[in-house]
């Protein structure tokens, strides 16, 4: 009754071996398609680098590489020094990180160590809701509602701090609209919190419970357990998540474009208006041409390069932490 040696319809006629069968075309094609899709990632990344660099050559030939570091930005007179924007990008991203990281890490710890699993889900939903708000809505709210409100606070703080050395250095200055480095940094902090939280959570969740139980068994309080057992394991992973948040904050365009103040400036005053690379590209690209446009594209290239590097380093940290957790 066994049909073992029925002629297999797929057998190639005339093949020497009864079990021979050419690998079906469909199978091979599928494999190629999958490979092509995977290669697309690499192709796109390379194309981005190549084509955008090409478009920005007129800027580089005009200003040379020092254009990146020059603070002289005046399109009307053909000066395209990018430093003010690099500065603004760095400052807003830093403010965002300084504000978001403690909150995100605390949230991640809250979700993994403090809150019983049943309550963790709703809290995660709430944090994810932060991520659902599109960047442009943050910007809209920021410029129409938040900035005017926060402008008063800025003035009060600034006047209150006049004369005090370090603090007035940072928090002095005048602001009439509320749009400033700090405002942009604050909104960026809201935006990157969900991603830093969720990545940190993943990292902290890989800490082996044996270590945690060991700490408790020695009579540690929860905070002591976190410091002693969780932190050493998840350190590099959390650093990785922070760097990823940094990368995201640097590249975030629209919210920054609306609330940063749109005036290129290099100043220590966090409460004064400024500009950043993505913001100037978004705001000025439409009307630009020639070398101006090339300069903007060039800043895009710079942004691309910086975020790629930050992401590579960040992924390196995260992988290292994951590998150590597996080996532990």
């Amino acid at each position: 009754m066994s049909a073992a040696v029925q002629a297999d319809p797929a057998d190639v006629a005339g093949s020497a071996h009864p079990l021979a069968q050419r690998r079906p075309l469909g199978d091979r094609v599928f494999g190629w398609l999958a490979l092509a899709a995977g290669l697309l990632v690499l192709v796109i990344l390379v194309l981005i680098a190549v084509t955008t660099s090409q478009q920005s050559t007129s800027w580089f030939s005009h200003e040379g590489l020092s254009g990146i570091f020059s603070t002289d930005w005046d399109p009307a007179t053909d000066h395209f020094g990018a430093m003010a924007f690099v500065f603004g990008t760095a400052v807003t991203a830093l403010v965002a990180i300084i504000l978001a990281v403690p909150v995100s890490v605390a949230l991640a710890l809250l979700l993994t160590e403090v809150v019983p699993p049943r309550w963790a889900r709703p809290i995660v939903y709430v944090v994810d809701l932060l991520a659902v708000v599109p960047s442009v809505v943050w910007g809209l709210w920021g410029i129409l509602v938040f900035a005017p409100w926060v402008q008063h606070i800025y003035s009060s703080i600034a006047s209150g701090l006049t004369g005090i050395p370090v603090l007035s250095f940072l928090f002095g200055g005048t602001n009439t609209s509320g749009a400033a480095f700090f405002t942009a940094g604050l909104i960026l902090a809201f935006m990157i919190t969900p991603i830093v939280t969720s990545l940190s959570r993943e990292v902290i969740a890989t800490v082996p419970s044996i270590d945690k139980e060991g700490a408790y068994a020695l009579g540690a309080t929860r905070w002591e357990m976190i410091r002693g057992a969780v932190w050493p394991h998840s350190q590099s992973g959390v650093v990785g998540s922070v760097l990823l948040g940094l990368g995201r904050a640097m590249g975030e365009t629209i919210a920054a474009a609306l609330v940063i103040g749109s005036s290129p400036a290099i100043t220590s005053h966090l409460f004064s208006p400024g500009y950043s690379m993505p913001a100037v590209i978004a705001n000025q690209f439409g009307e630009s041409s020639g070398t101006f446009r090339a300069a903007l594209v060039g800043m895009g290239v710079l942004l691309f390069a910086i975020t790629i590097i930050v992401n590579l380093v960040a992924r390196g940290f995260v992988e290292r932490s994951a590998r150590r957790a597996k080996g532990a």
Partner: protein, 296 residues
């Protein structure tokens, strides 16, 4: 059985003073962090809903975009809504199949090969590329040759979505136990068959969920569309050529307008956009729940 009398020197109370306080402070700080997240979220949602809801009406959803100076109850955002839906749908159709196939390559075909690991790693790195760079990229590679169009915007959004879909699909494929693949191979299935008939169906819930989340993210992105669709205020029925508009772009434009009417329409558009993104997010969760129920 007599209960032993409490002996001197046995102290089972909480650890004294400072340690306990530190623990309490830490816990309080963690909850403060949660509050710190709730405040801006509540603030934004409240503002958008309270300012946007009054504007939403049948006219808003179907009317065309009036000049900015017009008062709030004039016109609507229909071209932008249509634009967002069309462009996002087009981007999804491009990015989702390619993303899933890419994840299939990394997880099913790539094995331990260097190429597969490089692709996986670079896909992760690609999720961090700023969206404005994607917009600039499509601008240089497409718009300069073929002009503005919804299609160009879709390309830019697809570039944004691709690594996200790859990443989430990859995680889902990894979760499918090898024993299922073995069972399928043992029945004489080819690799493509195994993948298409056993592995993908087993992972489909998570894949759909990840794809919907990527779509939600893409629908709200402005920067990639700035230089690719050029933001005109009329409906362009041909998504493949000619400038068009989308909700995020309109919001961006209206945000810097001094006119109250324009701002009001901006709020309405913002509420619509959040609603769209929210719907996708809910759909993603429903998908996970429904499909996992089938496989139990």
């Amino acid at each position: 059985m007599a209960i032993a009398a409490e002996q001197p020197g046995v102290d089972l109370r909480e650890p004294a003073g400072w340690r306990r306080t530190k623990n309490k402070i830490a816990t309080v700080l963690m909850w403060v962090a949660f509050a710190a997240v709730l405040v801006p979220l509540g603030f934004v949602l409240y503002t958008v809903i309270s300012k946007g809801a009054p504007i939403i009406s049948g006219q808003f959803l179907t009317g065309s975009i009036p000049p900015n100076i017009m008062p709030a109850n004039f016109g609507g955002m229909a071209p932008a809504i249509i634009g967002t839906l069309e462009i996002t749908a087009l981007a999804a159709v491009m990015a989702i199949p390619l993303g899933v196939l890419g994840a299939v390559y990394i997880n099913e075909y790539g094995g331990n090969r260097v190429l597969a690991r490089v692709i996986g790693f670079m896909a992760d790195v690609m999720t961090g590329v700023p969206s404005i760079v994607m917009g600039l990229f499509i601008f240089t590679i497409w718009v300069l040759h073929f002009g503005y169009s919804g299609l160009a915007g879709a390309f830019a959004l697809a570039c944004l979505m691709l690594p996200l879909v790859i990443r989430s699909s990859y995680e889902m494929l990894r979760l499918v136990p090898d024993s299922l693949r073995e069972a399928s191979y043992a029945l004489g299935a080819t690799k493509a068959r195994v993948t298409l008939t056993v592995v993908l169906p087993a992972a489909i819930a998570g894949i759909i969920s990840g794809a919907l989340l990527a779509v939600a993210r893409a629908s709200g992105e402005t920067a990639p569309l700035l230089f690719t669709i050029f933001t005109v205020e009329a409906t362009n029925s041909n998504v493949f050529s000619g400038a068009t508009t989308a909700l995020p772009n309109q919001i961006f434009a209206n945000a810097s307008q001094p006119y109250v009417g324009a701002q009001a329409r901006g709020w309405g558009a913002a509420l619509t956009l959040i609603a769209i993104a929210f719907i996708f997010m809910i759909a993603a969760r429903v998908s996970t729940a429904r499909f996992t129920r089938y496989s139990r």
